[in-house]
Amino acid sequence: MDSVVITITSGKGGVGKTTTTANIGTALALLGKKVVIADADIGLRNLDIVLGLENRIVYDSVDFIEGRCKLRQALIRDKRAGELYLLPAAQTRDKTAIKPQQMVDMINELRDEFHYILIDSPAGIEQGFQTAIAPADRVIVIINPEVSSVRDADRVIGLVEAHQKGPAMLIVNRIDSARVKKKDMLSVEDITEILSSQVIGIVPEDEEILSSTNRGQPVVLNSKGSAAQAYRDIARRIVGESVPLTMPSTGSFWQKLFGRA
């Protein structure tokens, strides 16, 4: 099978890597693709929580690496989205538990059976980043529209290039069009100009993300909201459809209510 391995990373934590991985993975599966989303953020794992699958974990990737199970046994199927599987990370281990070459071998075992393998990576400054990008065919860097996040992203894009995994692609997450208009926030154009990298998605700030995370239900499963739509668009771009990059119409609940968005 022609599989594509995509590692999702960022300059620092908390920018939306896990949310993005869960939603793009689910959206790809909803497009009929066979997908694995692998959690490589060992010790800080939460992909399982965002997907609402934490109670179903029996084995994890470290169990497989250390020979306690077959890779198949560690995969958890998420039936809500067709052929979607989670490969969980170990909660109780540190990020050195898997070496880069072990990660490559493990992911290679999945390549025959799946179209897309997404890897939720630790941030670029953290241990474990090298392991998470080792098997990648492509790397996506998540950024928030802030100067510090863009600067951190620049560093990670450089590291991605240094590991011969470039050019990295960007997803701008948590953008708020109203604040961009008021010049309170960097625009996508500013970010592209500063980083000289290609943007493959623009995801708005959306309060739905928090509630869906708490329910363990990625927004792409059932929401018509703007973030859900943005994630679906990214999935379609990944499979090769040409979907124009548009600025999502956001604004807060109040702005929508009063029609000022």
Partner: protein, 233 residues
Amino acid sequence: MISIKGLRQGLLILFSDAENATWATQLDELKVKLEQSGSFFQNARVAFDVRGLSLSLDDLQIAKTLLESYRVNLWAIASQNDKTIANTRRMNLATDPNNEEMPSLVTDDIGTLKENPFAATAEGSDGIFLQRLVRSGQTLRHPGHIVIIGDVHPGAELIAGSDIIVWGKLQGAAHAGSTGNDKAIVCALDLAPSILRIGNTTRRVPADKKRKYPKPEMAKIVNQEMNIIEWTP
């Protein structure tokens, strides 16, 4: 008898294995170079090529300690001598300075720029010519000139023994003449580095030096002062 080369993975120091070239004299020579080279070596990553020299664990440890006292990190030793190779391994150092999987998270020397074909051809020459951008966290270090076609981002660092020429926007830190050469120059189409150093003279450029229509400029030392003049390339 030792010589220094800019390698894609960092700096390479070549030793001689001629009859009269002892380890001790060559280390003395290295010490003089480290002493005279000002900040050129600071935080650099270096590899040795010791050819056929037969070196004990102590010999290697002395060299490593010497480098560390100048804040230089020794990461690899290439050798054709079996005993030296074995001792290199015992010190947990790499034996192949051209190793593609060098520990790139330590510092990002020229090594990170290896996808660029020009970097390879410039090895050991008077300068390095790169057609690419240099990102935050990356350090480019060369004993000769550094010529870049592309931007140098904030947080990036260029350290050249001689001149620095950037055909693009130069942000980040630039240090020309880092071996103590006051005659070196720094030129850029948009000269806006956070720190500019030539030889031993430093100048901080105010962060608001953001111009809508930047013009090419050149920095050079005139009467011990940093001068910035129009650059008409």
